[in-house]
Structure formats: structure tokens, C-alpha cells
Symmetry: C2
Subunit: 206 residues, 2 copies
């Protein structure tokens, strides 16, 4: 929630700067976006941007950082192993919970998700933030969950890394094609999501 906290701590002008920056950067890319254009759309003098952010890149990182943290937040909840037995009675219900939850999140923060996907290859700081989140909170939890469902016989005994890769790949693939690549073609998204979930579950069965 640090994301919202930060936003409410911002002055009006600063919020306008951030919103304008998100809009333009998600449309044209970071390198092709000028600070003068951001200032113009925000209705603010260009110097105001540099009152709040040391550099253009600093503005980008401050936009992208909180969302990166929040993307992986659901995996960071404590005692997920215990929650497991109670909440997720099957691998399918686990995948369904993760997918619908993260799809909803991506939909809510679509422009910033776009920026993260586009800019990560060019900014080591962004990649480092992602890797840190994954390493610190996701890997252990997800590894345990996957191994749990491998023991119950619901998931094939593939390498954990590959199972993880397939789950993420199909999640990102769904978001990308439904919301970003062909947003207008996506009519019945709940149905597509449900069938994608069943595809993943079926494909991972032993």
C-alpha cells in the first residue's frame, strides 16, 4: 500500500506530474518522452519536475518501484504454507486464485505494468528491483507450493524452475494479449481466463 500512501502524501502538482508521466511514458516509451512534454501535460513548469525528482530516470523509478513491490505482494504473505492446506484445496484453485488476482491487479495498473515490461530491459535498477522481490519473497514460497502439489500428484515432477516459468509465461501471455496487444479483440475475457487456467492445470498434470 506504500504506493497509495506515497500518492496521498504528494502535493497536487506532484500528482499531476506523476499521472502525466505515466500516460506519456506508457504511450511513447521512456527514452522518447521529454520532461518538457510531461510538464506541459501536467500543467506545470518544467523546473517543478526537478524540485521533486533529481532526474528524469528518478521519476521513472519512483513510478515503477511501488508497483513492482505490489505485484509480488500476494506471494509474500507469511505462512503461505499453512494457508495452503486450508485455502487451496487443489492446484487448480491455487492457480485460479493467483491468476484472477494478478490479472485484476494488472488491469488496474495497466499503464505502469506496460512501462515495467517495456523498460525493464534497458534499466538495470528495474531488473534489480524485480529480482530482489522474487528472490526475497516469491521463490521460497512458490517452490514449496509447487513441491506440495507435486507430492499430491496434481503436478508433474518437472524442474520447479520450469513449472514456475510455465505458470508465469501463461499469466503474462494472457495479460499481454488480452489487455495490451489485442485489447479490442478480447470480448469474453473471464471465459478466456478460465480456459487458460484449465489449460495450465491440465498441461502440468503428471
Amino acid at each position: 500500500m506504500s504506493y497509495l500512501v506515497e500518492k496521498t502524501n504528494m502535493s497536487l502538482k506532484q500528482r499531476q506530474i506523476v499521472e502525466a508521466a505515466i500516460e506519456i511514458i506508457s504511450e511513447k516509451g521512456f527514452a522518447a518522452t521529454s520532461t518538457s512534454e510531461i510538464a506541459k501535460r501536467a500543467g506545470v513548469a518544467e523546473g517543478t519536475i526537478f524540485r521533486h525528482y533529481q532526474s528524469k530516470k528518478d521519476l521513472l523509478l519512483s513510478i515503477v518501484g511501488p508497483v513492482i513491490a505490489e505485484v509480488f505482494a500476494p506471494m509474500a504473505i507469511r505462512d503461505l504454507e499453512n494457508v495452503l492446506a486450508e485455502e487451496f484445496t487443489s492446484f487448480e484453485s491455487f492457480i485460479r486464485a493467483v491468476y484472477s488476482n494478478r490479472v485484476a491487479f494488472a488491469e488496474k495498473h495497466l499503464p505502469i505494468v506496460r512501462i515495467i515490461l517495456q523498460e525493464a530491459p534497458y534499466h538495470p535498477e528495474i531488473r534489480a528491483q524485480i529480482l530482489q522481490q522474487v528472490a526475497s519473497s516469491v521463490i521460497n514460497k512458490v517452490t514449496k507450493i509447487i513441491q506440495h502439489f507435486q507430492l499430491t500428484g496434481e503436478v508433474a515432477t518437472l524442474p520447479t524452475k520450469l513449472v514456475f516459468q510455465l505458470i508465469i509465461s501463461n499469466l503474462v501471455g494472457f495479460v499481454l494479449s488480452s489487455y495490451i496487444a489485442f485489447p479490442k479483440l478480447a470480448k469474453n475475457m473471464e471465459e478466456d481466463l478460465e480456459q487458460t487456467i484449465q489449460f495450465v492445470v491440465k498441461g502440468l498434470r503428471p
Copy 2:
């Protein structure tokens, strides 16, 4: 093959320009790459670039165009429907053929594939070229193939568009994570590819 033909028709300096451009753009992105840097790495005067290309964007499109055409080439072969019965005895062999073929192609043209994936969102001309290729040669063929294997009972009767999306999503996901996102982590790629193929085939079964 127009790609190679074009390359051999190029003068030495022009080839150097193209190679330098591919290197730098795939590393830093198109917008962050300057023509002066391209010229410097190519060992060429900056004006020489504009002898051969009307604009910086024209250079990008001339690099990206032939590869876009070639990516979808295997789907454009004539009478693929007839080849079907003879060559692809099962859906699995079809997927395996497509996947290993296109993964090898992506590996060969990795920097340009990277550029295409990164720049497509920002350049309508690139998207238009892709859509034209897909519309003109891929959709009909693949639709027929999918429907064929739905009749044989090897593929679930999901909407064709979704089946297509899942096949492409996992192919791109594999290439992305194996070659681009975590290239050094990818040790046993043939095995991962094989298991990805079986995941897709299994997941698409009725």
C-alpha cells in the same frame, strides 16, 4: 530469402551500418540510440547513413522488415493442408516441428527479434507489417490445422483464436525466458523445450 539478398547487395559500409545499428538498438532501444553512435561504431561518417536511409526510422524498418517476413514464412508454404496428412501424423509432431523451427530461427536472429518485440508497441508500421503477414498467410493455414486436429480429437474444441494464442504465448514465453530474460540460467534448453512442447500438447487435449 529477400533478407540475405538485400544484405549481399549492400556495400561494405552499408553492411557495417546495419550491423552496428542492430547491435546498439537491441542493447539500448531505438529511441535511445543516436545516429552519431551508429556511425561511430560502424566506422562511417554520419552522413553516409542518410545516403542509404531517408531517416533513422527508415533504417529501423529496413532492419526489422525482412525478419518479420521470415518469421511467418513457414506458415506461408502452399498446400500446408496437404502436407498435413503426410508430414504431421499427430498434433504433437506439428507443435514440435513449429516450435523447434521457430526457436532456432529466433536464436539465429536474436538481436533483431529483440528489437521487434521491443519496438512494435511504439511503431505502427511494424505492427502493420506483422498484422499483414499474419492476416495474409498465417491465419487461414493455422485455423485449418487446428480444426483438423480438433476433428481427430487431439485438441479440445476451444475457440481457434484462444488455441492460437496459447500456442504463440508459450512459444514466445519460452524464447523470452530462455534467450532474453535469463539467458545464463538456460542450461538444458532442448529438454526444457521438449517439456514445454508436451505441456502445450497435454494442456490442449480435450
